[in-house]
């Protein structure tokens, strides 16, 4: 924690944030074509990463179900988009993520962290199998067509949800629940003894974090004409946000955003030509990040900055 929280740096930061936001809002009117699509993708990973960090960073509970909630959003969009207006579809996807996460959390979050981890890990495969089975029995098809939206519509929807995710994550960190989560992560038994309803807090925050994953899925789905369980439920959507969070650093909200932006961009450069190489680099970077940058690239930056300033302040 910084002790002398200079108000000027705060204002500079806030101003910078405003500038970034204005640029992002005006982006589709300035340029056309590829750039908004790329930024939509970056925002998608920002949402997934920040939502994951929201629950995982304070508690230490590693959810591996991001891909499940995200894929659920795909199917909500496939079923409802068209007859139901686009914004309502996004809200339904959020509710679906919330409800499923509530069930999963109620079942596993009263047990040790390892159970939660294992259960959520297999959830992606389970839900994709259930969907496949339902489609086989009910519609006798493998995939579905999705009512598409324009690039701009998807872009703005994603931008709004990304801002919403960040604001909610920020508010939760500052609230009583955030403090409760922090103490659960540090010592669960002590937290329970000091009057925190441990299970309820964990389940609720996990469910809230899943709302945004479902929403992001619904928006991305409208940019694809056709989906099937293989497309919707990919393990990569679970693993990549974890990696981006580790790379960026989980100490504050800026880290995950930076991690998501950098890796999505590198991904765009490499993914089309050398997909295997890209994933290989991913793995190597992840291992190196865990070994040598325990606080992510942001933490590393802060450390170097502190050294340059003469090392009077302890690194955050």
């Amino acid at each position: 924690m910084k002790i002398n929280n200079l108000s000027t740096t705060r204002w500079v930061g806030l101003g910078l944030l405003l500038v970034v936001l204005v640029v992002l809002v005006l982006l589709p009117t300035i340029t056309e074509g590829y750039l908004p699509v790329l930024v939509t993708d970056i925002l998608k990973f920002v949402i997934l990463t920040v939502a994951w960090v929201l629950f995982a960073a304070p508690t230490g509970y590693m959810s591996l179900a991001t891909g499940a909630f995200y894929g659920l959003g795909f199917y909500i969009a496939a079923v409802f988009n068209g007859p139901v207006p686009f914004p309502i579809v996004i809200i339904i996807a959020g509710i679906a993520g919330f409800v499923v996460a509530l069930l999963v959390g109620a079942l596993t979050l009263r047990l040790r962290a390892a159970y939660f981890c294992i259960f959520t890990f297999a959830l992606v495969l389970l839900i994709s199998n259930v969907v496949l089975e339902v489609e086989r029995l009910v519609t006798q098809t493998r995939g579905r067509f999705v009512e598409t939206e324009t690039v701009e519509a998807a872009y703005y929807a994603m931008l709004i949800i990304a801002v919403l995710t960040l604001v909610v994550a920020w508010l939760i960190r500052r609230s009583r629940h955030g403090l409760a989560l922090q103490s659960i992560g540090e010592h669960e038994e002590a937290a329970a003894h000091s009057g925190i309803n441990v299970t309820r807090t964990k389940v609720l925050v996990f469910a809230v974090s899943s709302v945004f994953m479902g929403m992001a899925g619904a928006i991305i789905a409208t940019r694809r004409a056709y989906i099937d369980p293989g497309i919707a439920f990919s393990m990569n959507n679970t693993f990549l946000p974890v990696l981006m969070a580790m790379f960026g650093g989980m100490g504050n909200l800026l880290g995950p955003v930076i991690g998501a932006a950098i890796f999505t961009y590198i991904g765009e450069l490499l993914l089309t030509r050398f997909p295997d190489l890209y994933m290989l680099i991913f793995g190597v970077v992840l291992i190196l990040a865990i070994l040598f940058m325990p606080n992510g690239i942001l933490g590393l930056g802060q450390q170097i900055w502190a050294k340059l300033r003469g090392g009077r302040r302890a690194p955050a």
Partner: protein, 287 residues
């Protein structure tokens, strides 16, 4: 009756393979505290080593490559634990933090191993024909029976290793209480590295066996890890006997469900998993 007999034999074989994979994972999690997501990738490595050796000009018998694959993955496991995971353990302030970090590191390994394999072998299905004739009377091909026999031999050998040797005793002691085991003169770093390496060795052997009976591809690993994790919870986190029993149960369930509706197997596993978490989360052999 023949249907029931075939279901049981297939189930035992699948169960035996699941048991090998799960015992490996159980050693890694129960003793070395690494929830190893990349476990399945070493199954894939074992399978591809066997495939490559069999289809190459050397035409090495799968039962010989089984040993090669097991040794190869064992050595990799040893090297990984004594560099990566040992360093993580030394730098982690508590066991919970180490568990989190080591799991994330195994994510990294998952990506590294899988994508090296994809660069070398691509992503299409591979397979080779090995002892593909049926035995008189039974509908089960000979290769499955051979694999079943091998699984039984390895399971018995492994059980004897754990119960009769000094190293086995050290491993069992470290499972129960690593600090006290260390105080009793067990070289704990050595034991942990052995456990992790044994886990990967079993994965390599399982992969080798799988390659003799099923088609293999570089993305095959993940589904086996998912199954193995369910088995490990079913048997009781950290219990090696539990993992064996759990593996057999899941194999039999799989064979039974596959007979009626193959696409329902994953759902059936999950139904078992959910009932287990509701009724007895500590598992069959859990304390």
């Amino acid at each position: 009756m023949t249907v029931l007999r075939d279901i049981i034999i297939t189930g035992l074989l699948l169960g035996g393979i699941y048991a090998l994979v799960s015992v490996g994972l159980s050693l890694q999690y129960g003793v070395a505290r690494v929830l190893n997501i990349s476990h399945g990738e070493f199954i894939m490595v074992g399978a591809f080593i066997t495939y490559v050796l069999f289809t190459s000009s050397a035409n090495i018998h799968p039962l010989i490559s089984l040993v090669i694959a097991g040794l190869f993955t064992f050595i990799i496991g040893w090297a990984l634990h004594s560099t990566l995971f040992r360093r993580l353990m030394d730098t982690s302030p508590s066991m919970e933090i180490f568990e989190g970090k080591s799991m994330l590191a195994s994510f990294g390994l998952y990506y590294v191993v899988q994508n090296i394999a994809r660069i070398i072998w691509g992503s299409e299905n591979r397979g080779f024909v090995f002892l593909n004739r049926t035995v008189t009377g039974a509908q089960i091909p000979l290769n499955r029976l051979v694999a079943l026999a091998v699984v039984i031999v390895i399971a018995v050998a492994f059980y004897l290793f754990l119960s009769r040797t000094r190293m086995g005793k050290a491993i069992r002691a470290s499972t129960q209480d690593r600090t006290t085991a260390g105080l009793m003169g067990v070289n704990i770093h050595h034991v942990l590295a052995i456990c992790f390496a044994l886990g990967l060795g079993l994965a390599g052997i399982a992969g080798s066996l799988i390659s003799t009976i099923l088609a293999i591809q570089t993305s095959m690993g993940l589904s086996y890890v998912v199954i193995a994790m369910i088995v490990v919870v079913l048997g009781g986190l950290g219990s090696i006997t539990g993992a064996m029993i759990g593996g057999l149960i899941l194999g039999l369930v799989s064979a039974l469900v596959t007979y009626f509706q193959p696409s329902m197997t994953m759902i059936a596993y999950y139904v078992i998993f959910i009932i287990l978490l509701l009724v007895r989360p500590k598992g069959i052999m859990g304390r």
